[in-house]
């Protein structure tokens, strides 16, 4: 079923949060990936945490601690190979790990990217236990772990046009003596515009105003978790494409044709951001 665009707050365990510790426990693996577990929070999908020599019986456990209690309502696992797993949070009241509501206890999953929504909890720790991979006894891998909550209602009710989607590599061109071009490129960033000719949905406009004035990056999920709604699976619209972005233009809420009872003309220019 088609899904609208999601907006989430910045990942609680983002790489620039220096208070986060992540601990792997795996009795079987020859390398449990502890040295690079931080890759799952570095915003990049070209690096990952992976074990060596693990198997399904190892019950690989990942403990995440970010010290300060924060509200959590959403968890996203980006590009994984887990078949059976549970995720719990630490409840200060009971001093124990507790299920979310609804509980995250997955079996027979074939998903590569998974999004879990649950009743908000305030916590500072998570525990993930992986009891099986989609290929039996394969090494576990995970590209990104996002612990967050939606911005207000989080998901738009409307359907803005996604205009000017650009995957820029910041090309700089110079000419050689032969006339051929030398192109120097950087790692790149993503940008796009969200455009609505007449927007009247209050919840959506509240989200728009929040992202303009929150003065911090936020996560944008263009496919909303459903990449099949597009005729073809392209970069930027895949389930794994979740970008930390900020608006690069100013908020201009002009009523369409100047008529107050019309909707507001909105054109949000979003750019992938470092903060």
């Amino acid at each position: 079923m088609a899904e609208q665009i999601y907006f989430f707050k910045k990942n609680i365990i983002d790489i620039d949060n220096t208070e986060v510790t992540m601990t792997i426990t795996d009795a079987t693996a020859t390398n449990n990936g502890q040295d690079f577990i931080d890759y799952v929070r570095n915003r990049k999908n070209d690096s990952a945490w992976i074990t060596t020599g693990s198997n399904d019986a190892a019950n690989t456990q990942i403990d995440i601690d970010w010290i300060t209690g924060r509200d959590v309502k959403d968890i996203i696992l980006v590009k994984h190979n887990w078949k059976n797993y549970t995720i719990q949070y630490y409840d200060e009241g009971t001093a124990s790990y507790t299920d979310f509501n609804p509980a995250i206890s997955v079996t027979n999953s074939t998903q590569e990217t998974s999004h879990f929504e649950f009743a908000s909890v305030e916590t500072s720790m998570l525990r993930i236990i992986i009891t099986g991979t989609q290929t039996a006894n394969a090494d576990k891998e995970l590209y990104q772990l996002i612990v967050t909550e939606k911005i207000l209602t989080g998901q738009l009710a409307g359907w803005p046009i996604i205009k000017n989607p650009i995957h820029s590599t910041n090309k700089r061109k110079t000419k050689m003596l032969s006339g051929k071009t030398n192109i120097a490129e950087s790692l790149g960033f993503f940008s796009c515009d969200l455009s609505v000719a007449s927007w009247k949905i209050d919840n959506d406009l509240d989200i728009v105003e929040n992202i303009y004035f929150r003065r911090e990056g936020f996560l944008v999920w263009l496919c909303g978790g459903d990449e099949t709604q597009f005729s073809t699976e392209r970069i930027g619209y895949r389930k794994e494409d979740i970008y930390l972005m900020r608006p690069s233009n100013d908020y201009e809420p002009e009523f369409r044709q100047g008529q107050y009872q019309q909707g507001v003309v909105i054109n949000i220019k979003l750019e992938e951001s470092i903060n």
Partner: protein
């Protein structure tokens, strides 16, 4: 989101500085503010007094608050020259009050920090009646060294370099603006000066230029306190700050650019001589690699050849080999505003790897030959995070809120 504020501290009727700072931010023409630069004097030789740029400051003077002393509405009572100035930076545009803040919602709770302090110079003051603006130059406090004479009468033959530095710096003209403490004066090589006659009729600035060079030391003004310290140091295991490049996997990207990358040969001197003597100190490996780059010391106040040779050897050890230098630009934040001169930083700028044919980047010890693919890569610049670079210059661009650090490899 962040804001710059400007404060003045003029003299009162008794020619003493008033107690409280006066906030003049609302009268500041923001376009008049440029960059604030502090760096070790670095013409060809990196030893000397810390230099501040002159900052142009333009104030709206419609109500005459900044007119010359003695006029009715002027805040300046006795004189305007030498009025203290400070610039501060605050990440929040509003003052903070007691209350409740939700974790993760408020950007940062912190006070404004001082990014520059100095004093007004009437030497270049201008104004005109059309726009009624007061145009000032704001000089860094080190400018007082140029305006203060070395107290030659207090010096004597046989004083060491460190003793002469203390005599030069511990004067009321300097200490009314800056904090001085003998304990903060520590040169690298402390040599006896046999003949101080060449220091007569010199400014403190001129004397500092001699003595800091000879002792392989530098002078820094930090938090309005004078420090003299050695240039010689080793890499530290715990850097003061970490910078991460665009392809770094270990931290959030905070390098905007790296420019003016040099090998450091421009500041390499591998043959040191003493004028009118046959004394010399050579760094032969550097000479073989880079050719002779000669520097001559000309100071007749030291006549003992053993001491002269010790100075030449020390300078050769410091400057004999090339050390990479470049300018690193980063967004201005509280944690990097606290960085000081000679703080050592780590820079993680790995090769930029690209997935080959949509295959994930291979990791050694995990990838399997004949299955995984080597990535495509960009190798134009690679900096190992285990190396250390020390800060030799700081330039704050207060319009873009970025900082340029001039770095030199340790």
């Amino acid at each position: 989101m962040s804001v710059i504020r400007v404060y003045l501290k003029p003299f009162n009727e008794n020619d003493e500085y008033v107690t409280d700072w006066i906030d003049v931010t609302k009268d500041v023409e923001v376009n008049s503010l440029g960059s604030i630069t502090r760096e070790i004097e670095n013409n060809e030789y990196d030893v000397g007094v810390l230099k501040y740029n002159q900052i142009k400051l333009t104030l709206r003077n419609t109500d005459g608050r900044y007119s010359e002393a003695g006029l009715v509405d002027s805040i300046f009572k006795i004189r305007r020259n030498k009025t203290q100035v400070k610039f501060t930076w605050d990440i929040q545009p509003f003052p903070l009050h007691c209350g409740v803040v939700e974790a993760g919602e408020c950007y940062l709770l912190d006070d404004e920090v001082i990014i520059f302090e100095g004093y007004l110079s009437d030497l270049s003051f201008t104004t005109n009646i059309q726009d009624q603006k007061a145009n000032f130059s704001v000089l860094g406090f080190e400018s007082v060294f140029k305006e203060t004479e070395f107290p030659f009468a207090s010096a004597g033959n046989g004083d060491t370099i460190e003793e002469l530095l203390k005599i030069a710096l511990n004067q009321s003209n300097i200490t009314q603006l800056l904090t001085y403490d003998d304990a903060n004066i520590n040169v690298d090589l402390d040599i006896t000066v046999d003949d101080v006659s060449s220091l007569e009729n010199k400014t403190v600035q001129e004397v500092l230029d001699f003595l800091l060079l000879l002792s392989n030391s530098t002078l820094i003004i930090q938090d309005r306190t004078i420090y003299v310290r050695s240039l010689d140091e080793n890499p530290t295991p715990d850097p003061a700050y970490y910078f991460y490049g665009q392809a770094s996997l270990g931290g959030a990207e905070n390098i905007m650019s790296i420019e003016d990358i040099r090998t450091g040969i421009n500041r390499t001197f591998n043959l040191w001589t003493w004028k009118d003597t046959d004394l010399a100190a050579r760094e032969n490996t550097s000479i073989d690699m880079n050719g002779v780059r000669k520097k001559e010391v000309d100071f007749q106040g030291i006549t003992n050849n053993t001491n002269r040779q010790a100075i030449l050897d020390n300078l050769r050890d410091e400057w004999g080999n090339a050390k990479q230098e470049f300018i690193l630009t980063t967004p201005m934040k509280y944690d990097n505003l606290s960085l000081k001169f000679f703080d050592q930083v780590s820079i993680d700028y790995p090769p930029i790897f690209y997935e080959f044919d949509s295959n994930p980047l291979a990791l050694y010890d995990l990838a399997i030959y004949d299955q995984a693919y080597y990535p495509l890569s960009q190798w134009a610049l690679v900096i190992d995070p285990n190396e250390r670079f020390k800060i030799m210059g700081i330039e704050m661009n207060i319009k873009d809120f970025t900082i340029d650090y001039r770095l030199r490899k340790v």
